[in-house]
Structure formats: structure tokens, C-alpha cells
């Protein structure tokens, strides 16, 4: 009986090893482009209805957290169905790896937001920059399983995050610090995935 379980473990470990050397194709370019559009729309909403975000931080956070949740939900559902279709034999391993790569960043982003709101509300202007820097780390850690140029997307988010810190104060809460960073960034990610989809067409 133990031999049978050991054999199953061996098969799982072969699968994991295969997954670790396979380019992940679960992220759909169209979906990621759509999340970029979401970011641009959220920036538009903020620009129209929230001229002074520094004094209405809860509304500011509501706009961007709603956008993040909607984007994550759309990406998650699409990633699940696409991975099942494209990586049929390795789908569980590929999904697990994709989630493991990005989850620490998402968790860190959430915890940083809670801690800043609870303990250092006067420094909330730093949140957009921190979100972008943490997001860039998530992109960098996922680069190993994505097309190589994806490093440019990670660099973009790092640069925009640092620019937010450089802007400082209420300027960092301007709708376009988030709108441009995520709007352009997600379109860049989508373009990289789109133009590198052909060469990995035969991957499992």
C-alpha cells in the first residue's frame, strides 16, 4: 500500500517539475487589458467625483479596492478556465504555482493598507506608491513562468511606485498616479502576453 502512495507521490513530483519548466499561459491578454481599462475608468470616476481625495480617504480607498477586487475576480475566473483548457495535464500544478507566486504580494498589499489606515493614517498618501511597488514584486516573482519581457512590466510598476513617493503628499493620491500606473501597466502586460503567445503555442 505504501508503495502505491509512494508511486503517486513520484508522479506528482514529476508533474511539479514539469510545471516548473513550463511557461504559464493562464493569463489571458484580453482579460488583463480589461483590468487596465478598469483602472482607467476608476481614475476617471475619481477625477470627476473626488476632487479632494486627501480629505475623503475612505471614498478613495473604496474606488480603488473595488477596482482591485473586480480585476482580481475577473483575472482569477479567467485564469482558472484558461489554465484548465491550455495546460490540461498540468493545470492543477500550474494554477498552484501561479497563485503561490502572486499571493504574497496581494497579501502584503492588503496588510499594508490595513496597518496604514489603523496606525499611521497621516501617511496614507504613501499607499498608491506602496501598492505599485508591492505589485511590481509580484510581477517580478512571476517572471520565471512568464515570457521574459514581463520583467519590463515589473520595472514599470516599480518606477511608477517610486514616482508616487517622489511626488509626495496629496499629489500621490491624484487619480492619474493609479490610473496611469495600472492602466498602462496592465496594457503592457497584455501586449507582452499577446505577442509572446505564438511562440509558446505548443506548450502544454
Amino acid at each position: 500500500m505504501n508503495d502505491l502512495y509512494k508511486a503517486l507521490d513520484d508522479i506528482s513530483s514529476i508533474r511539479r517539475q514539469m510545471a516548473s519548466t513550463t511557461v504559464f499561459r493562464g493569463y489571458g491578454p484580453a482579460t488583463l487589458a480589461a483590468t487596465g481599462v478598469f483602472a482607467a475608468l476608476a481614475a476617471g470616476v475619481q477625477a470627476i467625483w473626488l476632487p479632494d481625495p486627501g480629505n475623503h480617504i475612505s471614498i478613495y480607498l473604496s474606488i480603488w479596492i473595488t477596482t482591485a477586487v473586480a480585476s482580481a475576480a475577473l483575472t482569477g475566473v479567467q485564469m482558472y478556465t484558461r489554465t484548465r483548457r491550455i495546460h490540461s495535464g498540468l493545470s492543477n500544478e500550474m494554477l498552484r504555482m501561479a497563485v503561490v507566486q502572486f499571493l504574497p504580494s496581494a497579501g502584503a498589499g492588503l496588510l499594508v493598507t490595513i496597518v496604514f489606515l489603523r496606525y499611521v493614517p497621516f501617511a496614507v498618501w504613501m499607499l498608491p506608491g506602496l501598492w505599485q511597488v508591492i505589485f511590481s514584486l509580484g510581477v517580478f516573482s512571476s517572471c520565471r513562468f512568464l515570457p521574459k519581457p514581463m520583467i519590463a512590466a515589473g520595472a514599470w510598476y516599480l518606477l511608477t511606485g517610486l514616482s508616487c513617493f517622489a511626488a509626495g503628499g496629496s499629489r500621490a493620491l491624484s487619480p492619474w498616479t493609479m490610473g496611469i500606473a495600472y492602466g498602462v501597466g496592465q496594457l503592457l502586460v497584455a501586449a507582452i502576453l499577446f505577442f509572446h503567445a505564438e511562440e509558446n503555442l505548443d506548450e502544454i
Binding site: 503517486l8 508522479i11 517539475q17 514539469m18 490540461s88 502544454i204
Partner: protein, 129 residues
Amino acid sequence: MKSKVSSSEGRFAYEGLDRVIHERARLSILTSLVTNPKGLTFNDLKQLCALTDGNLSRHLNVLEKGKMVEILKGHERNRPQTVCRITPPGRKRYLEYLSTLEQVIRDAAKETKSEPAGNPIRGLTPSRA
């Protein structure tokens, strides 16, 4: 009883156990290559699979004919070098084989679990000899 058999007809047929892969040497060659997608040299593959030159060539030939591996001949530091690499259809077939093999083991584990402890082989009585 007949209907019970017919309802589970083909349950243990395991059509996915590809005959080309289902051979010890070829299975070890493919497993080595699938975990090294950039390819392995002939010598590395020979050592990993504990095969002789002749045996490895013969099995690689079978896999190449089945379009599961590609053999690239070139030079490294002025020495001839043969690199073997798994092809995308080879990866696909290997994964299908792996899924079927996993199913075989799961079925065996399920059957072993459901056996009563005192009667290890169903329908057979121990010999008195």
C-alpha cells in the same frame, strides 16, 4: 451479475498507456527529457538512464520515429555533440501517459484498501501444500 460487469466494461482498459512509452528504458529517457526541456547530451542521458550506447541509440530511434524526441547533432568546443530534446507532441503524450498511470495506481490503491485484511487475494484460497 452480468449487468454489473457490463456497466463497468473497459474500466481497467487503460487505453492511454502508450506502448511506445510503456517500456522501462524509454520511460526513463522521456522522464529525464521532460524534466530538462532544454535537452540533454547523449552522454548525460546515458548516465541518467544507466543505458549502454547501443541501447540508448535504439530507444532514441524508436522515440524519434514516434516524433516524441528530436536529436540535434552539433559541435561543442570542436567536439561532436548530440543533444536530445523532447518535442511538444512528446510532452503531450507523456503527460497523457502519466495521467493514465496515475489512474492505474489510484485504482490499485482503491482495490487494495477495500480488500478485507484476512483475505488478501479475492476468490483464491491459500494452498495447503
